[in-house]
Structure formats: structure tokens, C-alpha cells
Symmetry: C2
Subunit: 325 residues, 2 copies
Amino acid sequence: MEEFRVALFDNGEGPASQEPIPPNPSDGELRSCVEQNQLRLMDRRDIDMVLFSPKASAMAHHVSDPKAAEAWAKACNDLVARVCDLYPSRFAGVCQLPQTPGGGLEGCIAELRRCVEQLGFVGTNLNPDPSGGHWTSPPLTDPYWFDLYEVLEELDVPAMVHVSDSLNPAFHALGAHYINADTTVFMQLLQGDLFSRFPRLRIVIPHGGGAVPYQWGRYQGLSVRLGRQPIEDRLLGNVFFDTCVYTKAAMALLFEVVGASNLLFGSEMLGALRGVNPETGEDWDHTLCYVDSLSLDPTERDAVYGENVRKVYPRLGRRLEALGK
Amino acid sequence: MEEFRVALFDNGEGPASQEPIPPNPSDGELRSCVEQNQLRLMDRRDIDMVLFSPKASAMAHHVSDPKAAEAWAKACNDLVARVCDLYPSRFAGVCQLPQTPGGGLEGCIAELRRCVEQLGFVGTNLNPDPSGGHWTSPPLTDPYWFDLYEVLEELDVPAMVHVSDSLNPAFHALGAHYINADTTVFMQLLQGDLFSRFPRLRIVIPHGGGAVPYQWGRYQGLSVRLGRQPIEDRLLGNVFFDTCVYTKAAMALLFEVVGASNLLFGSEMLGALRGVNPETGEDWDHTLCYVDSLSLDPTERDAVYGENVRKVYPRLGRRLEALGK
């Protein structure tokens, strides 16, 4: 896939002249790959099911060629769909959209419809900064994005906001750009008024919300200063956070400040951190340990480990129900 | 000052044609202003002394006219110096540098020298993104900045990294740009190797470190992934955080994760948040409450409330000693 991407984008610097062909691994190759990686860790960590999406850092939204973007998103989503079809009780698809910096959203809407209606995907990623660290797109509250939100509401699928690689040397992708994007989008939502226009739109913010839960008092105070209603009333019906933070202290803060009803269990698998935390002897991204170490009551546990995600991703909920889960 | 700034920068869009003159308030006007604002709150909150700098959001570094930038920085720093001279036991100066996007640093170095050597300032602000949200400058670890660091080491003054207003509609200044900058710079320092070249350089990161303490596990894991020594060994001799976070949970996390020896008591006065938190009945930015609510031992309290800042800002330490404090 990496070779295909390079060919497609001519090493990331523009569209290629010939039309490259995506790889077509056999079912056996796919099984072997996933079983040695995601499924191995899922089994070890008691994770029944994963929302499976293309690799976020490789979405390549910074290349302004809609045809290449569409070919790349399609190839990635198709591969995700094949894995989901091989293991329908372990993986549910979340798609990558063929975004480009400042480009129209028609191609994104078409790919979203294809993934949800034909491939059975249950959600999408949405990149608030397709430029890759230059932040040239309008805020997510701008009418630029509204056509997409209409379709998200119609299909009843949420969007996880997630940027891709950083082309800006100021921003390390995993250590700054990702976290900044989470923080930035939350503040866009606080500042704007998106959910009175799109009351059924649901946004998931990854990496435990970036800086947001830690800076919660700042957002509460800014909310007052901007003359807005409290965050809890205005945003928490539509905005959800995952639990991808990597200390017990951070997980405790996340639950204390945001509360279990807006948290979806998440574990970057495989994501930014690889290997074992020498202090704990556990994998860095084995976030279940941190959640389990909190004294959650059974309702909170059920919410974070399963009930919330069924509500935020209702198409997943229906699939789980059909599977008798 | 606001009128002067507008005249100087022609409403922020370019240099003005005529040369505007900075206001020259009387000592009485300055006293009256500060006594009704900063000093009133300092007395109410048992704060002996404040590191006083020009308003960060008004630094106007995005205007590419070095002459205007120098005039503006000089006027702001001179006014700060007058307040410090009126109340030498309550205020110590921290300067604004006349940065411009991509401009040379000679003017900044000259103004830094003037402020420290002639006006008695004890530190400086340093803007990692003079463009105002477009992030066009190289990382703080780039040789672009080295001449300035040499002078910071020579003068033995620390730099607080702080951006100014955001001109990018994606970033709310107080709710995203400030916090993103804190996070971004920490990751630049983690990724680079600045302190082996400048071992006596000290960097202060405001707003409780942006996302950093909350995302500490991510930084520990990325440090391993990048083949770096642990953060504690590599960075915490040179990097310090203030305590400007606005929930007890965040303050507890900050002390637990970073530890008292790298924290400088800070209270944005007057900063992003104004007025009273209806839940606590205290001012939003009365951060002393949050620190006092933790069970710190006397050594930790002394460190955060006074000892650390004497070490990080040794010119302040010497002044306090001369004042018998």
C-alpha cells in the first residue's frame, strides 16, 4: 500500500503520470497480517471489536489532486472492508475521505455514501486540516463543511476528527499536530453554533481530547466570557472523546472532568506508541489498564466499554445486535 | 496604548505613514490603573510579586515591519518598566521582543539587552510563531534562533514561550492557539537537542504546559520511539511550567506528573479568564486555591511559591535578596 501511495502521489509531491494499480493481497495474506498484529493484541487485551480505519497519518490529504485522493481513499477503504468482511464480529469499518486542501466535498460525500451504504462502514474520519499542518481550511463550523454534515446526519454516522501527517516542520505529527487538532476543533465547536443547525451530528475527538479535559476550566471560563451556555449543555450531547491517554493520572482526570457518558473506550492499536512502558511493564497503549485501575461503577464501565459506542455509532449497534452481542 | 498600536500598525495591516507617538501617562494614572487591577487582586490573593510583561495577545508580531515592531515593543516595555519602578517590591519586568515573521533577530537581541541591562528586566517572552497562527517559523530548535539563545545564556534570563493573537480563523487565540503553541514547543524540544548546545538556556511553558502534562505518557512513549533519553533527564533541567490551569483535577495532575520542582506558581492576572467561577465562587484564575487544595509538603510549597522562580529567574532572585525577601 505504501508503494502504491508513493506511485499515486509521485512521492507525495504531485500526481503521477501513469495510473498505478492498488495491491490485491490474498485473503490469506490479509488474515496473516491482521492476526499477527491487531487480532493478537485484541485477544490479549480482551477487546471484542475494533473500529478499523485506514492509517490516519497516511491519508495524504495535502495533495491537491482530487482524482489521486479518490483513488487512494478508495483503495484504503476497500482493504479495510475486506478485513471487516473476513472478521465481521471483530472489525467494523470507519472510512477515510478523499479530502484535498480547499477542494470541494462532492468526492468525499460520494465515498462516504459508498463506504456506508455498500461496504457497511459505521463511521468516518474527518480531517479539519487537509493541508497537513498549514491550517488553510475554514473551521469545522463554517458552511464549507455543511453538505457533508447533512449526509452524516442522513446516514446516521459520526465523524472522528483526525488530521493526517504534518508537512509543517514546526509540528511533529504524533506529538503536536494530532493533539493540536483535537484542541483546535473543540474550541471551534465551543466558539461556533454547529449543533443547533445539525442537532444529530456527532463528533468524536481522539487522543483523549488533546488538551481539552486538562484545560477544562479554561473552556468553561471562555464559554462564560463568550456568552455561551455551559459546555455540558451545549456540546456534550454531540461531542465524545476516546480514552487514548497513557498515564493513570490522565485517565482519572478524563473521567472526572468529562464523565463516563461522553467517553468511548479507545486504544490506539497500532498507533503512536509502540512497545512496552518500562515503568509499568505493560504496552504503552494498553489503555484498558488505566481505565480498569479507576474505581468505576458497573454502569460507568458498561457505558465506556460498550453502551456509548452503540449510541454514537448506531450502525455498529445494529450490527452487534444482529450478531447477538 | 491600543490607539498607539493601531496608529503604528495602521490597523494591523501594515506600517503607518506618519510616526505615531506613544502615550505618556502620569505616575498617578499608572498607579491608579495598576492599583485597581493587578495590585488589588495581588493583595486579595496574597501574591507578593508579579512577573509583569506586556499583554501577550497584543504583541503584533505578525506585521513584517521591523521599525514598527521595535517602536511597539519599546513603548510596551518602557511602560512595564515604569510600573516596576513605581512598585519595585511588587513587579519585576519581563519583556516583549520586536519579532517579525521570518525577520532577523538583531532587533530582538538589542531590545532584550536594553530591557535587561538598562531597565532591570528579569526575563523575556519569546513567540515561536510570529506569523500569528500560520506557523511559518522554524522550530525553536533551529539555528535561526541560536543568536538569541546565546544572549539569553549570557544575560542569564529565561524565555517564556508565548504566542500572540491568532490571525488564522481555525485557531481561537486563547482557546486553541495559546495551548497549541505550548504543546508544539514542548514536542520541538523533545524532538531536537537544544539543551546539549545551550545547557544554561531555560524555557518556561505557560498555561500549565498546554496539553503536555495530560499527554505525558504519549511524550514518554514518543521519547522511546525516537530513541531519546527519558524526558525527565533530557528536558526537565531546562523546561519549566507555570500553574495556570483552572480545575483542581488539572492542578493535581500537573503536580503528580511533572512534579513540584519544575513548576512555577502562575496566575493569569489579568488573562484569558475573567470573573467568578459560579461553581466555586472564586475567580476563575485564582489558581492559588487549586494549589492550596493539594496536600503539598512544605518543601514542595516553598518550591512552587518562591524557590523555583528564584532559580529560573536569577535576576529576580538577586533583587528579592536585595529587598530582604
